[in-house]
Symmetry: C2
Subunit: 643 residues, 2 copies
């Protein structure tokens, strides 16, 4: 690999400033807790701890002390596979739940039961309906929408064993055939989840290979019953993202304004809070504030920035620090990645911490039961909480300290908007310039950098250093999730970044595209494709490229990376990309090293079966060099130039 990676510290000065403030304020942060938790349990890290029954808890010592199997006889290969499948099930269940809420909302909109929402993208709805076999000719939009929602419900209810509607309608052809051969065409996401929990309970599946196939199937549930369903329906209801430049980092908070931070994942909540923040500006002014300023954290940030240009505050691991600014009047959350530490910190600054989902609550939070049927009423209630807090917090003398750090990013790169940008270069064949650039070696390959900001790796700036190394080697990056917050704050999502980070050949092609598309500068070298559920957009893009080339996705010079992952959702997403035949880099190490079977399968055998492969590397150098080697291998197999 290129050895010229700049070792500049990427630490966000705002993080440093607020970490110091937290210490002064006697606020414990994640970094403090992580330090106290070290060393973490080695059995857990190896995946060889089992609590599936009460003959245990069992744990297998890799050095052969004690027993080499669990009390029931489960080998480390079985224990690791069961634990890993349960993690993937936790992730896929989260995404299926997210998607199912949207399907329920779509039906409510169609039936006039959710007056606060509407169908913004009729075109996408109709194209989706056609793919799903829903008749559209001469029918009212709402009737079509209701049937599309019912197609989703049909998947969650089917007992006929047929592949999901969403797979039949939305999978790429070559991958569909591959998945059919491998037995990965799942039928009902809920049956898979139930069976995964059943087979991993004590005394059921004891065949590691069978359990790992189930894990790949869970990846299919995640993508088709979670990510893609969520993205499709979110686009229909909230709009397809389009390119725009947005502000990021701590300075999105504004003194003298009512600051609301939306944190979580589903645009159902955040879109309404943003709307009512504007509509209640008068009340904010009456309370002495300039206006109501809504900013987005974590994937709520991604969803709102890419669609509505709402300021892009920060990532999951900065949520505590955003509270420590003392500038936030209300933090409003829906689902996922809402650390239980937050409400106590919010209290220190008299920030109102508001939960909104019945199954995501906290004893110290205010709960506003946000239902789509009463979205406008509940959103007003939430905004008024923030306005009331503004006055109270001023009166109590809470002083804000907003670090003066700011960056810009271009966001809103959906497949649709990317095609639209590229149409300016070649109107007849928009993907041709990209494919030509890949073929010519101007773009050596592409990497999807996704996932979370793990405090274990954040100090080392794992994501930024990897991005730098990849770009320098002419590798294009697409991102989703909190990694995009990291890279946005690092300044990777601008035209300037192309000048600064891209290797000479990549710079040339991005500059040409940028100018042809009238962007007034190069296309950024890191393209923001959305939130975690929008990893489905990356699959769609890969499918489009592979389809045009007439190859499998597994043959493309591409890779995925979750360089600092935290959640079970990252596991189920990664598992889908393995099923799609892609190299998936992860750090920290997945909990599989207690199983020789798993290590061999994921790094040696699976590549020969479908091209999927896991690369574990916890330093940027090792990750970049491993990915580059993989991209070269794929280029070579396609007969493309290597430099």
């Amino acid at each position: 690999m290129d050895k010229t990676i700049d070792r500049t510290a990427y630490a966000n000065p705002g993080d440093i400033e607020l970490t110091r403030k937290a210490a002064g304020d006697n606020v414990e942060l994640v970094t403090d807790r992580l330090r106290k938790m070290m060393p973490e349990c080695g059995f857990g890290e190896l995946g060889t701890c089992c609590v599936m029954c009460y003959m245990g808890p069992c744990r297998i010592d890799p050095f052969g002390q004690g027993t080499r199997v669990g009390v029931c006889g489960a080998t480390p290969d079985v224990i690791v596979a069961r634990n890993f499948l349960r993690s993937a099930t936790g992730g896929a269940s989260s995404h299926a739940g997210h998607a199912r809420e949207l399907a329920i909302l779509l039906l409510e909109i169609a039936e006039g039961r959710a007056p606060g929402y509407k169908i913004r993208e009729e075109g996408k709805l109709l194209s989706l309906a056609e793919k799903l076999g829903v008749p559209i000719d001469g029918r009212p939009v709402n009737a079509v929408a209701a049937d599309v929602a019912r197609k989703a419900f049909e998947d969650f209810g089917r007992q006929d064993g047929e592949p999901m509607n969403w797979i039949r309608a939305r999978a790429s052809r070559k991958e569909y055939e591959k998945w059919e051969k491998l037995g990965l065409l799942v039928s009902n996401p809920h049956n898979e989840i139930e069976t995964a929990m059943h087979r991993t309970s004590m005394g059921n599946d004891a065949d590691p290979m069978n359990l790992w196939i189930a894990t790949l199937r869970m990846g299919m549930v995640d993508n088709f019953g979670g990510l893609m369903l969520a993205t499709d329906l979110s686009d229909v209801i909230f709009g397809i993202p389009s390119p725009k430049v947005v502000t990021a980092n701590y300075s999105v908070l504004k003194e003298g304004e009512v600051n609301i931070a939306c944190h979580g994942h589903n645009p159902i909540l955040a879109s309404k809070v943003a709307e009512w923040a504007d509509r209640l500006e008068g009340e904010a002014k009456a309370a002495g504030a300039g206006r109501v300023n809504v900013v987005g954290i974590c994937c709520s940030g991604n969803e709102m920035a890419m669609r509505y240009g709402i300021p892009y505050a920060g990532h999951e691991a900065q949520t505590e620090l955003f509270l420590v600014t003392g500038a936030i009047d209300a933090m409003v959350v829906d689902i996922q990645c809402i650390w239980p530490s937050l409400p106590a910190i919010a209290k220190c600054y008299k920030t109102r911490f508001i939960t909104t989902v019945p199954f995501v609550r906290h004893p110290e939070a205010i709960h506003v039961d946000f239902r789509p049927e009463e979205a406008d009423e509940r959103a007003q209630e939430i905004v008024r909480h923030a306005i009331a807090a503004y006055g109270e917090r001023k009166a109590a003398g809470i002083r804000a300290r907003i670090p003066d750090v700011s960056s810009k990013l271009m966001t809103g790169i959906s497949v649709e908007s990317l095609v639209s940008v590229l149409s300016a270069v070649d109107a007849k064949d928009p993907l041709k310039p990209v494919i030509d650039a890949i073929a010519a070696g101007e773009i050596m390959g592409a990497v999807g950098m996704v996932g979370c900001p793990n405090p274990k790796l954040r100090d080392g700036a794992m994501a930024e250093k990897m991005a730098e190394g990849l770009l320098r080697n002419n590798v294009l990056i697409v991102t989703t999730g909190c990694v995009n917050h990291i890279l946005a704050q690092g300044g990777f999502l601008t035209s300037d970044a192309t000048e600064r980070y891209a290797g000479p050949r990549l710079k040339k092609v991005l500059t040409a595209i940028g100018h042809a598309a009238g962007l007034g500068g190069p296309l950024p070298p890191v393209l923001h494709m959305g939130s975690c559920v929008d990893n489905s957009r990356i699959y769609d893009l890969l499918a489009a490229l592979a389809g045009k080339l007439g190859v499998e996705i597994s043959q493309l010079p591409v890779a995925g990376s979750a360089p600092e992952f935290i959640t079970e959702k990252a596991i189920s997403i990664g598992t889908f990309f393995l099923a799609a035949g892609i190299l998936v880099h992860v750090a920290p190490a997945p909990r599989v090293f207690g199983s020789p079977f798993a290590v061999s399968l994921l790094t040696e055998k699976l590549p020969g079966v479908n091209g999927g492969k896991v690369l574990v590397a916890a330093t940027p150098d090792a990750a970049v060099s491993g990915i580059l080697a993989h991209l070269r291998e794929k280029r070579q197999a396609l007969g493309l130039p290597l430099s």
Copy 2:
């Protein structure tokens, strides 16, 4: 409590003999593995270990070393509640899967796609159909059956939030009203499972109370979407159990016969194996064997003994020892409690170990893909495996050693058959004799003893000693699951047992009922109500008694006990009985002691809310005295005599 409990060792001489043989044969047993695993992990035992994300693994030291919360900020109360909910979800998913297979089979029978099966209980089908609102008048049985199956599928597919069909049709009225008030009327079992996995994933539910309510809801899923659905449909397809006397213990194996042990849970498999064992007797004789002898282990044993009088071999923790006899030609398994240790032991004795379910496999097993559509073909294949093994094993000189231990039990006590027995006493009002006896203090109360044989407690004969103590105090016992194997081997399920163990008043009433019913002796003091899924029968019985008295189930002088539980299924079953307002005794200690909130909720607060209460006691004395105190309290509240 009564201090006269007999301290006689209950150890099964067969277990001792075979444990010695195993040592000689160099076969490692569960007791060996358990010894090597000790001491087990204290964090796991307290429930304060968390692997829900990759900022961990976290563990909270109850003595305050290190951090007092997880890296994400989750408190021990949150960590314990999440872990416990996931365990209950594993259990409820197992039961839902079991039940769903039966619903699929019922539809296949109705549509003529499963020619090997038929509807044996039209009466039960029609009564079920009426409760479910399925029209029956003038319709062919198959049409009704198909609609009953579809009512089950409707529950698994519904997104309307309405309570499950199975709850509306089958819940007792007072409990239905209570559950409605408490928010426990679940709608779709699969939505609950998905949401449980979602809310327990990192950064979601952080409200211990909310998580424990979800756990009670999972109990509702377990009973109505699992146990009761399975029992109802099994009765329709395989017949309602009726009283019969059956042989138990190792001597059910027969030298000179082809021995097949069916192990697992679902009668779909075992019923067909038993049928073809008879039909292929000629082939067995041709191979030099007397016949094909099918015996049942674990809940396959319960399902087959109570319906067809098939010999009742032994419990889950004896499965290894049954193989060590060297007398088994084939062990055929379906789902649940199939220890991964078994195939290797089977190999030592050239026993063919046959898995039959796609998601319960083992690399060292023979897999026969048993599908109801081809049940006859596959059952023949399985029986022929056993016949072939018989010859091979003889040729290889495998010598059998079948311990000469045998006992009898009366089995087959369904609610229907119990009412039928009691009708002989009072034809107009069959439950009256029981209610009168409870009111008069002849029966002080009733305890459902259920669950598994945990090697941690088996040496201490926890179940037998508890049974003895309860009976001596005039408490009637009903049993399900592997506990019934234990008590059958201990001789508790016979008329003689009433003479030997029952307190004087209990003896009197059981003798009177037995004679009136023409049993030729007293009714046994321990009544076998079936397999683990048949805990629904216990609920039905309690509902009938409470309904007749016009009280809630929680007011009855009854309790549940899982005195040696192992599985996640026991957790979800126990959780349902908590939701129903019953005292549930468990041993070993559930993994909740790391959470002050959980301990207080389950032992102090919940009793005041709905009557449900957890009693943890790991010695028979403590368990019996705790239960007796509870029964007295309930009697007192009803104004019944205490002695």
